[in-house]
């Protein structure tokens, strides 16, 4: 069920440059989908799959927007419709004030496809140089930008190797670099962390956050919920082509009926006292326990410490010594 509807203006008949012809155009709305529908048909025109059903959504400037959903929910279809790779069966998509099929809008967007579909016979420098030439960037600026991006994504040592020799992570990184070659306002990322190891995933997420801090708008679609939760400001959840939920992450995930208290340096003896106090105020299902870190944080800490102190076993664990078992969980009904 849709809990937040777009505040889009009335769609006009002219699918051209709305920023000029539509007096209601809001420059803070970077992407607007109005009743966007996509039906795949076979050669004879018979309906095969209804991939997207009357999608209405908005993406605002400067936010990280996540499109979530299981496989086949319509996430990639939405991204492709926004990029003009597919034509809508119904409704329309407006990106940066232009119709999604208008080539001119591509000057200001970057796109990282699901598998970083790049030309395997080029090396990293050639790849970025090629994509850079497709924009109106002066040669000197382009050359500098290519080197900057290669350094940014950490491929300095492999920049002369053909992409066919790259690992999955390296390919994703060069894919991200090509998406940023034109310093875009809007970046669309299709499964950005798919296939990456935890380190690569962390780097990618940090990069996304950095882009938001630079004032860019990021739209990412993923089925890896933890990654989306970490970075996204707002999300939309799709299922079988329908928009089921949309809103801010923090407000969607808030469990309003429960209260969480965190404190450091609290002795064990205080636990019972706290439990009694809560019970006195009518609280139920009380759990007083040590919180858990995420497996990702644990992994990253171990890796970091191993790099700093090679050959020694890591001692960092926010939950205590792993060999002696976990801290006791005390539950009362």
């Amino acid at each position: 069920m849709v809990t937040e509807t777009s505040s889009s203006s009335q769609a006009t008949q002219n699918p051209g440059r709305l920023e000029q012809s539509n007096p209601d155009y809001d420059p803070n709305i970077v992407i607007e989908a109005q009743n966007l529908t996509k039906v795949y048909r076979d050669f004879w025109g018979r309906q095969k799959v209804r991939a997207l059903n009357a999608l209405d959504l908005e993406v605002r400037k400067g936010e990280i927007f996540g499109l979530l959903g299981p496989n086949g929910s319509g996430k990639s279809t939405t991204i492709k419709l926004l990029l003009g790779l597919l034509f809508p069966t119904g409704g329309r998509a407006i990106v940066l004030g232009e119709n999604a099929t208008d080539v001119a809008k591509n000057e200001r967007i970057g796109y990282l496809p699901e598998e970083s579909y790049l030309y395997k016979f080029l090396n990293a420098e050639e790849t970025l140089d090629f994509y850079g030439r497709l924009f109106d960037i002066p040669a000197k600026v382009r050359k500098e930008r290519v080197q900057e991006l290669i350094q940014l994504v950490g491929l300095e040592k492999a920049k002369r190797r053909q992409l066919r020799e790259y690992s999955k992570g390296m390919t994703r990184r060069i894919g991200l670099a090509q998406a940023l070659i034109n310093d875009p306002e809007l970046i669309l990322l299709d499964e950005p962390t798919s296939g990456l190891d935890p380190l690569g995933t962390r780097d990618m997420k940090d990069m996304i956050l950095k882009l938001r801090d630079q004032g860019k708008t990021v739209v990412m679609c993923s089925h890896l919920l933890a990654d989306v939760e970490d970075v996204c400001d707002r999300i939309a959840i799709l299922f079988q082509g329908d928009l089921k939920e949309m809103g801010r992450v923090d407000s969607l995930l808030k469990v309003s009926g429960e209260t969480q208290i965190k404190a450091e340096n609290l002795p064990e003896s205080a636990h019972e006292e706290i439990r009694q106090l809560i019970a006195k105020h009518g609280g139920q299902n009380i759990v007083v326990d040590n919180p858990r870190t995420t497996l990702e944080d644990l992994f990253l800490n171990i890796v970091r410490e191993s790099e700093e102190r090679p050959g020694m076993r890591s001692s960092s664990s926010t939950g205590g010594d792993a060999d002696s078992g976990t801290a006791a969980a005390d539950q009362s009904n």
Partner: protein, 670 residues
Amino acid sequence: MYVESFPQFSEWFLPGLLLFLAVLLSGAVLGLFFGYLVAAFRHGPFEAFYVVAQVVAEAVPDFKNTSPRRVVALARLAIKEAMRRRVVLVTFAIFAVMVLFGSWFMGGGTEKPEQIYVNFVLWGTQMLVLLMGLLLSAFSLPDDIKNKTIYTVVTKPVRATEIVLGRMLGFATAGTLLLVLMGLISYFFVWRSLDHSHQILGDQSFAAFTAVDTETHRSTVTGKRVSQNALYEAKTTVDNDHSHRLEIISDVREAEQPPLESDDIIRTVKRDDGKIEYQRVMCLPVGNHTHVVTVAGEGDDAKITLGNSVGYFRARVPIYCSDLTFYNREGEANKKGTNVGKESKRKGYVDGGSARNRSTLSRATFTFEGVRENRFPNLDFVPIDLTMSVYRSYKGDIEKRVIAGLQFESIPDKPDVQNKFISEIIEFETNEFTLQTLPVPKKIVGRIVAPDGSLVEEGAYDLFEDFAGENQKLLVVLSCRDINQYIGVGRSDAYLRGKDQAYWWNFLKGYIGIWCQLMIMIALGVALSTFLGSPLVMLSAVAVMIVGFNTGFLRKLAEVDAQGNLINEGGGGPLESFVRVVTQQNTMVDLDAGIVDTIVEKLDYLLVNMMQLLTYLAPNFGQLNFSNYLVHGYAVDNNQLLIGIAVTIAFIFGLTLLGYFCLKTREIAK
């Protein structure tokens, strides 16, 4: 070789442009109609109008805003793809192997090895580059779409025009570079293979020669005929699978004439009648080539050397007649000549009279225009090339050749008031089915005749100033001088040979023809690949290529009259032929009248006209194939080259439009 006639480029251009625009307009209308049908099928009939209008409206800014910078960037990518996928390298490697080892299997004692070598390099180059162009263009875009690498391109500000043009430009550049390399290597290969010399068998002096029988004009060694004025003969060593015959001939000149200065004179004799006899060493040609003879010294002690081959690398510039008319024995004009049966469709025959009536007015007259001195390099004589056939009504002495005669006449603009120049008849032996070159002296003995036919003057007159005159027209009259024999000739069988073009330039023109074919093939492959998968692109392009190379044959097969009915010698169209084959009916009888016959006739009408249309839609590769010219040593006319280039540009333009609209309306991610 039969050279077809073709128009001047300036005459051809405007009608050609109008035809092109008409075809373009028809294609546009058909395309819009077909597009509307597809859109109506998908979106409904009313929405379809909007969809089609939108596509057309977006085409204008797309073409207008096409960025050369992006086209070049995509072209660079295509070149890199061509190089790094090793298609170009493998093509070159195959060519290199062919050139390295091909000469082992060529030559073989043929009289015209240059035809084999030139044909080999041209054919090999043509097939390899066309195949390479097809492979590059057929697989590139479909692979991009299949592998989704195109996603990262179309999501940049890249228009469909730029994608299509970039691919075409890139592959064209790679193909051109390879073609240039192959052309240079081919030229060097041919030149190296044919360049050779000989030595005289035995001594390199007069001692190697043996006397011939000057009465019967036969060799005393082999018994074969020798030249009429031959005195001695010898043979050369065998090199390049052949040897030449050498003859010392007698060249007699008047004492008053200036002394002959030539490097091939071995002896000068003053005869009893006061004339000077120059004994000259001649190397008889084998095929199209001979060797220049140099004689150092005089008499028995003279040293004779043969130079490198000459005559292989020729680019003849034929000046054809504007009109050929035959006259029968009674002097009545007709266009076909005397009927000797179904000897040749192209040639007409001239008869030599009969024993009863030796005088005959039968002749063939060639009218030449534009005959002026600067078109002929040699100031002493004008070469006429003739390819004649002979029809013998009696066998006679089979080794004795039929004698023909050539006569020259001026063509005054006002024959009623102006005098006419008529030359004496120059007799010569015909050499059937081979190209004969007759040197016509610039000064010809003849007479001036008044309009009433009376003799005005006799003497020696200049071929250009007197015979051709101010209107630059010349009439050449061919007659048969042997009774009861016939000489056959066609319009392209006799020409004045202008200044030969530089061979390298002609060779280059041949490769420009291949380049034009390559450009069309690349454009076709890219255009088809915007909406078809690789295997279908290959299949379609090969089908177009087959139609293109056989356009002449297909047009003749499907030749229709003004009403669209088939013109052929019987058998009907494709369906009727099929029915005849199956029912084993010969072509002389009509099919049984009935419903089947009517259906077959109607369908054949449709099929034959479609075949005709197809031959005009498919590019005529035969028109761009100049290999025959190079193989037989004729210059490719610059007008023909310009027409070929213009046709190529027209096809590329049309295919670019096709590719653009197909890519634009395609859902890349589907």
